[in-house]
């Protein structure tokens, strides 16, 4: 066991030494002139990719370059929900792989990510919606994922404070995934960064990519604000800025960037155990360990890189919350934030090679990037290391739109502002 491994003994040792022996969790690496693999984007997905590349695929010279600082992007701007209650063949195995990785994450990276499987309950409010959830639950159980259909009595016993007398949107029941829950978003970024760093990955912060060098049709390096870096392979994991960075290599993507707002209330005593979603509108809520209600709703619905939203969506989210649980009406909102989402045209992600040799893409995470973090990293690492898709990510291809093979989870087609 190396000296910088976190454990109950290291906690005890530092407690007795006045907390003087802790080292930085990762090195502040300076860019070298060349790497085997460069990951552009030091968010959850980029760091997870680097970690799995080093830990499972034995990659040696790997760097993550990040424009700002680790954890300053969307991984620090979300509502921390993890779940795998998906419907379609392209998504179900992928998100279940992610769920299984969450379950072993803290042991894998030796970091407390506060993974808490408190359950995710999707409520339904009409017969048609119940049928849709029965179908979704069956699809999940057929593929070995836990799903439980609750009737109104069961939901009422679990969450007595919801508004069951709502004339317009009566709560008839819900689909429960008990293994779903939440994880601490910052700890996920820091934990992956530390674990990757321990395996020799260079994490280069404050290093914005300003160009992608292409020689004879092959991507061979990047220009950055800290100099040019050569690379054997380049993986883009840039979340909201996917289109901008891909444009440096002359690529257009089936992606629009939209802003998604989320909210935290003042701290309250614990009363919401798991994650609850309101089926009659887009609203989801959980309670953090500090007691704040964490909730969100739809994207603002128009292209934006602003990292801030507008009032109509705030109003809509609060209306949905009030329709679901009128008791939160007197709770004060503490803060809210907006993250830039790379909304793909079918609402599902893309992990694939690009038409340019040596350039790989991990993008299109829409609302769902956080829960996907471990599997996204694993699949992208597999693709970068082996040049073929990971078995659970074979349908998440870039050319699926042109081929008519979209993974249209929400069934709203090529309208990113409706996903």
């Amino acid at each position: 066991m190396s000296a910088d491994r976190y454990s109950v003994f290291s906690l005890l040792r530092e407690a007795l030494r006045g907390q003087t022996g802790w080292k930085p969790a990762w090195r502040d690496a300076a860019p070298q002139s060349a790497y085997d693999i460069i990951i552009v984007g030091g968010g959850g997905h980029g760091l997870a990719t680097a970690f799995y590349l080093a830990s499972r695929y034995g990659a040696k010279k790997v760097a993550v370059v990040e424009r700002g600082w680790i954890g300053g992007g969307n991984v620090g701007r979300n509502t921390t929900i993890i779940r795998s209650n998906y419907l379609l063949p392209g998504n179900v195995p992928f998100y279940e792989q992610s769920m299984q990785l969450w379950e072993g994450l803290e042991q894998d990276i030796n970091y407390n990510a506060m993974v808490s499987q408190r359950g995710v309950l999707n409520l339904f409010h009409s017969d048609a919606q119940r049928n849709a959830y029965v179908r979704r639950g069956n699809s999940m159980r057929l593929q070995g994922i836990d799903a439980e259909l609750l009737d109104q009595t069961a939901v009422r016993a679990m969450l007595p404070f919801l508004d069951y007398a709502n004339a317009r949107f009566p709560i008839l029941g819900g689909l429960l995934q008990k293994r779903g829950g939440t994880a601490r978003h910052d700890a996920v970024a820091w934990g992956y960064a530390r674990a990757a760093d321990r395996l020799g990955v260079d994490i280069i912060q404050n290093c914005e990519v300003t160009g992608i060098t292409i020689e004879q049709g092959r991507a061979v390096g990047i220009d950055t604000t800290r100099g040019a870096i050569r690379a054997g392979k380049i993986g883009l994991a840039c979340a909201g800025n996917s289109s901008r960075v891909a444009a440096l290599a002359g690529l257009r993507l089936p992606i629009e960037s939209h802003v998604l707002q989320a909210f935290v209330s003042e701290g309250l005593k614990p009363f919401i155990d798991g994650v609850i979603t309101f089926g009659a509108g887009h609203f989801y809520i959980s309670q953090s360990d500090k007691g704040g209600l964490v909730f969100g709703g739809d994207i603002d619905g128009y292209n934006s890189y602003a990292s801030r939203g507008n009032m109509p969506v705030i109003e809509d989210v609060c209306e949905s919350g009030m329709a679901l649980m009128p008791r939160i009406g007197r709770v004060r909102m503490l803060r809210h934030w907006g993250g830039v989402m790379d909304m793909s045209m079918d609402g599902s992600p893309i992990i694939d090679r690009t038409p340019i040799d040596g350039l790989y893409l991990n993008a299109g995470w829409c609302y769902g990037g956080f829960k996907a973090t471990p599997a996204s990293g694993l699949c992208f690492a597999h693709l970068l290391a082996r040049d073929e898709p990971h078995p659970v990510g074979t349908l998440l291809r870039l050319d699926r739109f042109a081929r008519g093979a979209v993974v249209d989870e929400k069934g709203v087609g090529a309208q990113p502002n409706l996903h």
Binding site: N303, A306, P312
Partner: protein, 93 residues
């Protein structure tokens, strides 16, 4: 965010619906055969960080279709025109 509608003046964004990029042009071949031009039109986007020409519908006002030029980094509105006028000007040129 407020949008200065050509007909109604400065109005709140919740009066409008968004349709997306106004610079794309539908191929004119009827679409019986799938082509690269069609998949580009339906799926690919420039998605710029900066000025962006986009279609907005003033459904709670004059019901006009507008072409709004907006900076996607700041939400600043740089210009508004009737979509009809934009289309006529394009066809004339």
């Amino acid at each position: 965010m407020r949008i200065p509608c050509v007909c109604c003046g400065d109005r709140g964004v919740d009066e409008f619906s968004y349709l997306g990029d106004a610079t794309r042009h539908r191929p004119t071949d009827g679409g019986a055969v799938p082509t690269a031009a069609w998949s580009d039109y339906v799926y690919l986007r420039d998605n710029p960080a900066g000025p962006h020409k986009e279609l907005w519908y003033h459904g709670s006002g004059c019901r006009s279709w507008l072409v709004v030029t907006r900076d996607t980094r700041t939400h600043a509105i740089l210009g508004v025109a009737l979509a009809r006028d934009v289309a006529l000007a394009r066809d004339a040129s």
